[in-house]
Symmetry: C2
Subunit: 215 residues, 2 copies
Amino acid sequence: MLTIYGVLRSRASRNVWLAHELGMPFEHVPVIQAGRAEGSGVALNTRSPEFLRINPNGRIPAMKDGDLVLAESLAINLYMAKKAGGALAPKDLAEDAQMTAWTIWAMTEAEPHTIEVLYNSIGKPPAERDAAKLAAAVAALKAPFAVLDAALAKDGFLVGGRFTVADLNLAEVMRYAQPAPQLFEAAPNVKTWLAACQARPAFQRMMEERNKEPA
Amino acid sequence: MLTIYGVLRSRASRNVWLAHELGMPFEHVPVIQAGRAEGSGVALNTRSPEFLRINPNGRIPAMKDGDLVLAESLAINLYMAKKAGGALAPKDLAEDAQMTAWTIWAMTEAEPHTIEVLYNSIGKPPAERDAAKLAAAVAALKAPFAVLDAALAKDGFLVGGRFTVADLNLAEVMRYAQPAPQLFEAAPNVKTWLAACQARPAFQRMMEERNKEPA
């Protein structure tokens, strides 16, 4: 059985959502960000020596499956999907390449800006939010939203005309932009796609578990 | 035959280096960054309608192989290595996962900082360089260099005890940090590893071709 390290109020949400999609059993070790550790009641944090032996980068999530230890949430998901096989995984090398490329696109074109939307709207305490950073992030996302909207126009999914790990990986990155609904109003295919992703029972189950964790 | 789009003074260097390693024939279409297009003599730039039909993100490199069109330099390299097979490619799913994870690590932990080292040392005109940004980038790289140094201590490579596409992908990201030699002096395994990567004939051939392009 594989182990997923990281509280659900972190990028570990991506891995737990996928595990639920795949019906893949896993042990969950709730490691918390060091900055949130005090008073959390969570035994391990990202600077705990025991966790640094798993991921010397001191970041969550991490994953262990037998002798294989992995960091980087999106790489973990590509591995889990391929290990399980089935509809969420690539069926050939071309799909593998496209799923990897969309996953990297999520990291390079979207996440640096979507995380700023989140932090500067609902993520940080009001006094720490920066309206200029929020506006800059929304402006920077217009072009990627347009590219994604066009890519989804054909059949509503990123690769192979079906929901795959690529959609899941990108959906979790785009979730951070939801406090800026104007981006989704301007990209109706993105809005429909993200709603379909988040309507999936495995996502809803993960979010219910996540919402039970202390904020 | 596959096509690689992008001048070598861009992240297309990664793809051309790998093609040379693999002995993989390719057509090279030298698309230039729109901001460098004027007076360059290069026919296509990243805002040319003909290129935007290949990569609507307007970024180089991009790749076309039959019906498959890919963006994102590091995803292109994982695809090319797997297509070719052999020592540079993963031999199983665990190696595939580790190579993907190191590639993503290069993007998340290293490149945002190594590119700032480059820009603020030799990359930008002297008047545009920011010494504070350079110092901040060097400081941010100390922890990732230490993690990488420890990972290389066992056998000098990232995955499987041999030079693979993971080393190549990360080496091109770490090249940007070479104007800060103090980082490498503090991480001797990283220094030895990068020198070994850059001593490879395929890298030297790519750099010779690159240096013939206008600066």
